[in-house]
């Protein structure tokens, strides 16, 4: 669940991205996993999806090995793009601003910090 003001916009990195819509001081918690709002699905759940939905699902989801489920953020957090030089430090349960982030900057995190096999699991190129 996103805890700060963000907006979606065209990304320079890839497709759409998640952008800060406020100044975010270093150390701010920007997102926490909420088992009430964010949705977790078993591998079996996903097998029941049709191909169109499955493809979309994997674009947005990540694997959480602590609960053995795929997680899909219910809000715009699912649009955060990957970078090996992120301004957001991620764990499975919490994201933190690595530095002061200006309003209008794209938020980027390293997908492999919360899902070490992300690019293999999801079948996308790094």
């Amino acid at each position: 669940m996103i805890l700060i003001k963000t907006k979606l916009d065209k990304s320079k990195t890839h497709g759409l991205g998640l952008f800060a819509d406020q100044f975010i001081p270093k150390g701010t918690t920007t997102w926490v996993y909420s088992n009430k709002y964010d949705q977790a699905f078993t591998k079996k759940d996903i097998e029941k999806m049709d191909e169109v939905t499955k493809k979309q699902f994997f674009k947005y989801a990540y694997w959480d090995k602590t609960i053995n489920k795929y997680v899909l953020c219910f809000d715009d957090q699912r649009f955060i793009n990957h970078s090996s030089k992120p301004n957001i430090l991620s764990t499975q349960k919490e994201d933190i601003a690595a530095r002061d982030i200006k309003k209008g900057e794209e938020l980027l995190c390293d997908y492999t910090k919360f899902d070490e096999n992300y690019f293999n699991n999801i079948g996308f190129e790094h």
Partner: protein, 136 residues
């Protein structure tokens, strides 16, 4: 849950929109409510969200009178924009193509067809949203 190939793009109407990524013949079912995947929340759950997330949530969700719950579509369906001249005909349970839709066209529906007071509930003036898609 979307039943056709779509993609997200910047919309000429408002922010981001949902676009056909295949030819969609008239009467094709484009979306179906799927309680296993589309997510429902009570008014109380909604009120417990941080204010900014609540605002985002209201933008994406619709209120289902039958269930007395807010539904947020699991997939990109949540980005479909409103039009008083829609190419998608909506009901609370399913959507279908109102006419042949070309690949690359924006999909638009009339929010008030599945939630009569969509604009009132969100404190939005529907006059700001009476978009008509031109150039069919």
């Amino acid at each position: 849950m979307l039943k056709v190939k779509t993609k997200l793009q910047m919309s000429h109407i408002h922010g981001i929109g949902l676009f056909a990524d295949q030819f969609i013949p008239k009467d094709t079912t484009t979306w179906e409510y799927e309680p296993r995947f589309d997510i429902s929340y009570t008014q109380e759950e909604l009120d417990n969200l941080p204010s900014w997330t609540k605002e985002q949530f209201l933008k994406y969700s619709y209120f289902d009178k039958k269930q007395n719950l807010y539904v947020i579509c699991i997939d990109d369906q949540r980005f479909i924009n409103h039009s008083i001249d829609p190419n998608i005909l909506s009901t609370p349970d399913f959507d279908k193509a109102g006419r042949d839709i070309k690949s690359g066209e924006e999909l638009v529906c009339n929010y008030t067809h599945y939630e009569k007071d969509w604009f009132e509930r969100r404190g939005i003036n529907d006059k700001d949203f009476t978009y008509i898609i031109k150039g069919k």
